[in-house]
Symmetry: C2
Subunit: 185 residues, 2 copies
């Protein structure tokens, strides 16, 4: 086949990345072999290496996917037109945590401690999420608490920081709570 249309190519990449995420969630980043991903995706070695340069590249894609997914959920709540107060915001975020993704997320933290590429991805995503939280808290302060916008932005900073920290801790607890089970019916 000649060059696949760009849409198709992205689809294959996503298919592979999703299979990788499932494997990582089950066995961890390093204990997952390419053979596992081959089995999970139903493709072959040649195919995978046609879409990703190597395993590190795949791990990065998986990390980006998981973190972006969590950022998306957060963005949806943040964009709400009736801003929830911080406690409610946190509760909603926690309720939206998926155990499997939490596991991979925590694994990326561990990997980030020694892998600069992953580290950059994690730090960037964390900053982005904190910025979203900041917007959300600011909106709440302005619309519900009737603060001045400028002052609201400032006092939102420590609150956003706090919500982020508590969210991440909860992510850790979720990841540790569900060890390896999950027989997907």
């Amino acid at each position: 086949m000649p060059r696949l249309t760009d849409a198709r190519k992205e689809l294959r990449r996503a298919q592979i990345a999703e299979a990788a995420v499932r494997c990582f969630g089950r066995n961890g980043l390093e204990r997952t072999s390419i053979a596992d991903i081959i089995a999970e995706s139903g493709l072959s070695a040649g195919s995978i290496y046609a879409h990703y340069r190597n395993k590190a590249d795949l791990v990065q894609a998986a990390a980006r996917e998981v973190l972006a997914e969590r950022a998306k959920v957060l963005g949806e709540h943040a964009a709400s037109d009736t801003p929830p107060d911080p406690d409610e915001l946190l509760a909603r975020l926690i309720a939206a945590i998926d155990p499997a993704e939490a596991r991979v997320g925590v694994q990326t933290w561990g990997e980030a401690t020694t892998n600069p590429a992953i580290r950059d991805i994690v730090v960037d995503m964390t900053n982005r999420m904190r910025a979203m939280l900041h917007d959300c808290v600011t909106a709440w302060l302005v619309k519900v608490e009737h603060r001045e916008p400028a002052e609201a932005r400032e006092s939102a900073t420590p609150i956003a920081h706090r919500v982020m920290a508590l969210y991440q801790a909860e992510l850790l607890y979720t990841a540790l709570r569900s060890p390896t089970e999950e027989t997907t019916s």
Copy 2:
């Protein structure tokens, strides 16, 4: 040589475990080979396998060591006779964080998501630390805030939970902040 005295044996085990922790902090749990630990400890393969059954055993020892170290620091502050308020307690705990140990700590979280033995160690240590925090907060509520002991114990629970979460988040940030540098003198 005949059987080493028990003290000497423990010393060797510690020497190996400490070398392992240094390697893990530098390269991560899985990217550290036994050869690395051999080089770092100045011992040999035979010697290491005389003291630890296998690499998984060593990883467990390292995890226990790092987590126990953090628990020890916490315990010292918790035992203070002039209990600090929660914010101060948290600040002190954060000030006592060592970047290298933070990295290994976060790595153990990642490993815990798929490795039951490590998971048990992490969960156990986390519970133990939370219990210490609970004691500390209770003491503060009783001695400084003059609450009734029974009521203090109860309202200390969510506070301890919160302090623990914020501490863990800070541990993560520390681990991510210092990538791989650390030229030991």
